[in-house]
Symmetry: C2
Subunit: 227 residues, 2 copies
């Protein structure tokens, strides 16, 4: 397997990164598929680190990625969870603002940012999509802020509804992340997350089939909590 270091130092072949696509008006998604180098990461492996040059972006193919920052005293804030189809590591600055790790075994497409920026310079549609992508991320982070001012119940309910939209088959959610990850995403402790889930179960809003599998029994009750 290619190591992350190998990718960063450019010591492997970037398939087609140096070959501009033959036609203009090329979709970003298509470009990513063509220019992206497939890569795998083991559970908990670092994909990129905060402060490292943001030379690559990463499209998740399978598995789940978390981005995070660790404060001086060890507190960790998870910035977001990235599921298949999502792109993380896209920055306009020189350095990654967050670190990223594979939560589960992951396959990602690694794309050189400069290649995409160069393509954007030739193709306005790609430029627009790059902008839109950053805009969506902005919107997501703004929503995250609203989460962090709510009560524990509201945060957990909002989290469940969000995950239901993203990973659910019907009403069942298969969570790829641990309670600690959820806690660090919601700005709570692991104990509070656990207690709140139990509370929601007792209120028949959800059912904890197993610790990673949650069934939404009463979405409107959850939405109601979601003030």
């Amino acid at each position: 397997m290619l190591t992350q270091t190998a990718i960063r130092s450019g010591s492997f072949k970037q398939p087609a990164a140096h070959l501009p696509p033959p036609v203009e008006n090329f979709e970003l998604a298509g470009a990513v598929e063509l220019m992206g180098a497939p890569m795998s990461f083991a559970r908990n492996a670092e994909i990129f680190g905060e402060g490292e040059p943001a030379d690559y972006l990463y499209k998740v193919v399978s598995g789940t990625v978390r981005t995070y920052k660790v404060l001086a005293d060890g507190r960790r804030q998870i910035g977001g969870f990235y599921l298949p189809g999502d792109i993380c590591g896209l920055e306009t600055g020189d350095e990654h603002a967050f670190s990223a790790e594979a939560i589960t075994e992951c396959k990602v497409l690694v794309i050189k940012r400069s290649a995409l920026v160069a393509l954007a310079g030739r193709d306005h549609d790609v430029a627009r999509q790059l902008w839109t992508l950053t805009g969506s991320e902005l919107r997501r982070v703004q929503d995250h802020i609203l989460l962090l001012i709510k009560s524990a119940q509201e945060r957990v309910a909002a989290f469940l509804l969000e995950m239901a939209e993203r990973v659910s088959a019907g009403n069942a959610i298969e969570l790829p992340m641990s309670r600690q990850d959820i806690a660090d995403y919601l700005g709570l402790t692991i104990e509070t997350v656990s207690r709140t889930l139990t509370l929601l179960e007792n209120a028949s809003a959800i059912e904890l089939s197993s610790s990673r599998r949650i069934v939404l029994r009463n979405r409107s009750a959850l939405s109601r909590l979601n003030a």
Copy 2:
């Protein structure tokens, strides 16, 4: 004075918005100066509302603007403060995600987004700057998230250091916003903000010359708090 409604309905002349600049490779800032329609807002006047079409963006010329959301139960979260030179209301989606109000008497330049997007379609440099602007906003909001997981002292200290960078003449800060605005920005109550400021003053980290004027006496003490 032009009303906000007049602007939105396009019932006034957009200076030069329909006249493409004569040369390409035009700076975004320059374009904004040329295409922007000057407009004034009184203290507490609404500049745009959450959910309204994001047809315009706003460059602050003088005064201070706050963006915010109000939750169903009345809690308000301030997304950011915009000082002269800052641009707010720039979205990639169709609608404004936040509302915006003038904190003080404000002069802004109002720019039609479609005009800027059209310009970006002709000028890669403008396109890149538009993207970068959204990227900076993303970075700012990400930093805001980190604020919200800290202790009251850390939040207030971080706020003071941030404002010092943005509005200070030396070590003195002239705050344009009320304690309530600060509280809603930091996710605290007004009482906690007030108490924390008093605490910092007693610790000789700051001096409260008046409620809106704060002198930083010991920046390293504040930074130390800023975990």
